[in-house]
């Protein structure tokens, strides 16, 4: 099982959610985050004084997926979240050791 973490532009959340649902992903967690990679922030002027805002609003999504659809899901996320402009984000893939559903106690593939 894989844990797919993606940082995407906030307005892409709905499209990405739809795209992964079409592949069969049933659950997703989204968090509002601020961050930057190589995309610079901007300098603003507040009452004549400059201040720098490096951190830009992004959305982080986390998906637990079975190995057999992981490739498809990653591709779907990338293709839907891409705009071609700087700041599109990143996908991080890690191995998921175990998943447990709290309500029923199911583990592994049944819990995803």
């Amino acid at each position: 099982m894989k844990l797919i973490t993606a940082i995407i532009k906030p307005f892409k959340l709905d499209d990405v959610r739809q795209a992964v649902a079409d592949i069969g992903v049933q659950g997703i967690t989204a968090t509002e985050v601020k961050g930057f990679g190589r995309q610079r922030g901007h300098t603003e002027l507040y009452r004549g004084a400059e201040y720098v805002v490096d951190f830009l609003p992004k959305t982080k999504i986390e998906l637990a997926v079975a190995d057999d659809i992981a490739e498809q899901v990653i591709e779907a996320v990338i293709n839907t979240a891409r705009t071609g402009k700087i700041g599109d984000g990143k996908v991080f893939i890690s191995n998921l050791e175990e998943v447990i559903r709290i309500r029923t106690g199911e583990t592994g593939a049944e819990a995803i």
Partner: protein
Amino acid sequence: MDQVTELSYALDTFYFLVCGALVMWMAAGFTMLEAGLVRAKNTAEILTKNVGLYAIACIMYMLVGYNLMYPGDGALIDGILGSFSALGKADNSAADVIASGGDTYYSTLSDFFFQVVFVATAMSIVSGAVAERMKLWSFFTFAVILTGFIYPMQGYWKWGGGFLDAAGFSDFAGSGVVHMCGAAAALAGVLVLGARKGKYGKDGSVKAIPGANMPLATLGMLILWLGWFGFNGGSELKISNVDEANAVALVFVNTNMAAAGGLVAALLLARAWFGKADLTMALNGALAGLVAITAEPLTPSPMAATLIGVIGGLIVVPTIVFMDRKFKIDDPVGAISVHGVVGIWGLLAVPLTNGDASFGAQLLGIGTIFAWVFITSLIVWLAIKKTIGVRVSEEEEYEGVDIGECGLEAYPEFAKTGD
């Protein structure tokens, strides 16, 4: 006797000034209402729009609007076109007042003050409808023309004693002259501007874009409710004798009752239709009640006023929904529904309790004002679109207009100074 005349003048002048101040406070109401119903990333910009338009309205009305609307005997085309001149500081002397036997009963400048805040109200109706995607300076450009020219022209036709007034059109405090006028200008703007990105799906679905701050929106509505006592109450124009004082009291009561009726009706309808007590519909309902009674808050009984408000509330909820679902007209705060559609209801309700009014004259007024404001506004919006553009770029719309137009955020965090 002279002392009583002078005191009467002072009281009526004072009344105008206090009511004008209450209507000025409605600017805070609109500002808070709109700030609460837009997203966080667009809040600073709409605040700037609202404070800016108020100031622009005051200046344009002083420079040209007031005398265009109230030329007295100096109209260029009697009944149709007022006069082009700025406001001076001349006012009535005590001798003039006494000599008039009380016919001159208020300060000229107090009349200006009372009228100028109405212009600002009309203009601020537009800012909510075009929120979250219009260029700030394009909006201000439009504000200059609406407050300096479009509004005063139709204002003259009714309140300045022009041809609509002569035809028997009845509009006590401005369901038509102010509210429907603002809504018509807003509609023209929204049609030229287009909907917010992502609001309507290709399959015709409507996406909810929730406002960021319900407490502000609610505060805004309550401020508007309070200010409306000045809006309708002041439009009686006089308080200094028993009959007038009673009339003002009735106007205050009716205004209050209509708002109450509108709120309850909208809340119940929302509960019945959507299954939940939608706060934003309750807010729009109260405002709808207020707009509905504004055309005639004096002749109905309090019970009738409540009913007029109730009908306003029952009209506004489906109008807001169908504007989205059927017509795809994106109006983030429901301004066109509250002020336009219900404004028309308010004007049509007048003959129901006022024997001096007629449906024919009301329809003439509705048609004339709507056509004038909508068409001239459309022309101005299109001209602005062709020259400086009306809409922000897609990038800026996603980022939020606070950054693009104002260079600061309403709810900033993660910022450091220097470097």
